[in-house]
């Protein structure tokens, strides 16, 4: 009995090995199964998912106007202190003082892409961009000002 078991073990072992080798051999000969993406080479054709959270940006229209009212909802929503809203007071044509943003400072190095600021924004002034190549040589470059210089708030956004 021992001998029969012994021979059985040898054969089942060899069989299981061959089954595994058949599968790896299949992949060795079938190069169509390869799914590698050659990243820096396919940069032109690479399309990120449209909801991909790469960094926070503030879209401006062609008249260099944005939708940010400076309400600091994003600043409050942020868990890491990534966003800092610096406000100023504009003089409207009627001569009234109106609160507006001077700078919206965004620390990319602190951001965890949690999307809470985007959800919190009441006027849809900021959104997530799909860029992802954020490496820079100097850490200071990661601190960004989101509103363009000289930009104004869009008409009709309160």
């Amino acid at each position: 009995m021992y001998i029969i078991n012994y021979i059985k073990t040898v054969f089942s072992t060899v069989r299981s090995m061959l089954v595994g080798m058949r599968r790896t051999g299949y992949y060795f000969t079938h190069h169509k199964e390869i799914i590698t993406e050659q990243y820096p080479d396919n940069r032109d054709t690479l399309k990120m998912a449209d909801r991909f959270k790469g960094e926070v940006v503030m879209p401006h229209d062609e008249k260099n106007e944005h939708r940010c009212t400076g309400c600091t909802a994003c600043e409050l929503a942020c868990p890491n202190g990534t966003i800092k809203v610096i406000t100023k007071f504009d003089i409207t044509p009627e001569g009234k003082k109106k609160k507006a943003i001077d700078k919206l400072v965004y620390h990319l190095e602190l951001c965890t892409m949690c999307n809470l600021c985007i959800v919190a924004c009441p006027s849809d002034a900021i959104k997530m961009a799909q860029t992802f190549e954020h490496s820079v040589f100097d850490r200071n470059e990661l601190t960004k000002v989101l509103n363009n210089p000289g930009s104004k708030i869009m008409d009709g956004v309160e």
Partner: protein, 383 residues
């Protein structure tokens, strides 16, 4: 052997550990070691190849998330929990969201609940796929790692489409989910299910059926039923010892009670039983996904909630079943906008504590197999 003994017995250079004897062969596995998948530090006392004692040293990646959460609001603290068990980040977020909902008594819309379950199960599959590859790599077979990553990549793409991130999604918010599912979601999930069912058989050929694999895992790391319960093991680790511990069945949440699936239980108590549990659990997850993917109810994906969440005074506990076991969130509230104290009951922490118990008397190679089937994720242990 004189060098090794000399250094160990020399108290100034390398003091013997408590309970150690001069002449013990002590090896540091970790904090940087290929088998620990992170910064786990195990001090192993050896007698030849046989392990006499395993002593885990933790804290290399401890970020004190519990303390951090004390200064974050109930909306903000959820994203931090993705960084604990990063392989089942959805499920961690889910637990936190549910705990806040329990305190606030928010009714979650049916659509959001189904989306949450779908995401949970996809995460579970992704986590088990990674575990399968990593465990095969621990045992010395490099190929399955890449094969399992092919399927995991499909899940990651689904996550990327809907949640905007691949690993730390922060998709669950109190009251529902952050965004509605992507229009392609259902099609892609069905593609994935098809691909998964076509390819899971290959793992049987390369891994499960292989005699070397079976010999490496069978009879290794025996956890008896009593030990599994006493050491607080949950998830596949305890179910491999015949304990019915699936939180989805014991304390159903989020509508799991209405879904047909089997709790996978094996009675082998060894590494191979734990291995089979995870393989079969993936198939159960596929079963859940197949039931739900065509039946996502219409409606809101998020309940209307107040801008500022304030939990009433009291303590709230919510547990879920992650890929690694029972994950619990315990919030103590004083009525403010931030929690007074948060405790995360992480499955990896309890599962790790049994390692010393089961590793004694086995070989170094066995230790790797045991750590593989305990499925330790170090940030989950350290928090």
């Amino acid at each position: 052997m004189y060098r090794t003994t000399e250094i160990i017995s020399d108290g100034t250079k390398n003091p013997p550990l408590e309970g150690g004897e001069a002449g013990d062969f002590i090896i540091n596995v970790g904090p940087q070691h290929p088998a620990t998948h992170g910064v786990l530090h195990l001090v192993i006392t050896l007698n030849g190849e046989t392990i006499k004692k395993v002593e885990p040293h933790l804290g290399y990646i401890h970020r004190s998330i519990e303390k951090m959460c004390e200064s974050l609001t109930y909306r903000q603290f959820i994203y931090v929990t993705s960084r604990m068990d990063y392989l089942s980040s959805h499920i961690n977020n889910h637990a936190c969201a549910m705990c806040v909902e329990k305190g606030m008594q928010i009714e979650v819309p049916a659509r959001a609940r189904v989306i949450r379950i779908l995401m949970d199960e996809l995460t579970r599959i992704a986590s088990h796929e990674l575990w399968l590859g990593a465990m095969a790599m621990d045992l010395g077979a490099f190929t399955p790692f890449f094969h399992t990553f092919r399927e995991r990549e499909m899940i990651n793409e689904i996550m990327e489409d809907t949640c905007g991130a691949r690993l730390t999604m922060n998709y669950m918010v109190p009251g529902g989910v952050m965004q509605d599912i992507h229009p392609d979601f259902q099609r892609k999930v069905k593609d994935f299910v098809k691909q998964f069912q076509r390819k899971i058989g290959e793992m049987d050929e390369i891994v499960t059926g292989n005699t070397i694999f079976q010999n490496r895992m069978k009879g290794v790391g025996i956890i008896t039923r009593e030990d599994a319960i006493s050491f607080g093991c949950t998830g596949p680790v305890s179910r491999g010892s015949g304990v019915s511990s699936d939180t989805r069945k014991l304390f159903p949440y989020e509508g799991y009670e209405n879904i047909e699936f089997d709790e996978v239980i094996e009675t082998g108590c060894d590494s191979f039983a734990r291995y089979m549990i995870r393989i079969r659990e993936m198939q159960q997850s596929i079963r859940i996904i197949e039931q739900l993917i065509d039946n996502i109810p219409e409606g809101d994906f998020q309940a209307k909630t107040k801008a500022v969440l304030k939990l009433p005074k009291g303590d709230f506990f919510q547990r879920v079943e992650t890929a690694r076991g029972q994950f619990g969130v315990y919030i103590v509230s004083e009525g403010g906008t931030t929690p007074y104290r948060i405790k995360f009951r992480s499955p990896g922490f309890s599962n790790l504590s049994i390692l010393d118990h089961i590793a004694r008397g086995s070989k170094i190679g066995d230790l790797v197999a045991m750590m593989g089937t305990l499925d330790l994720v170090i940030p989950d242990i350290d928090r």
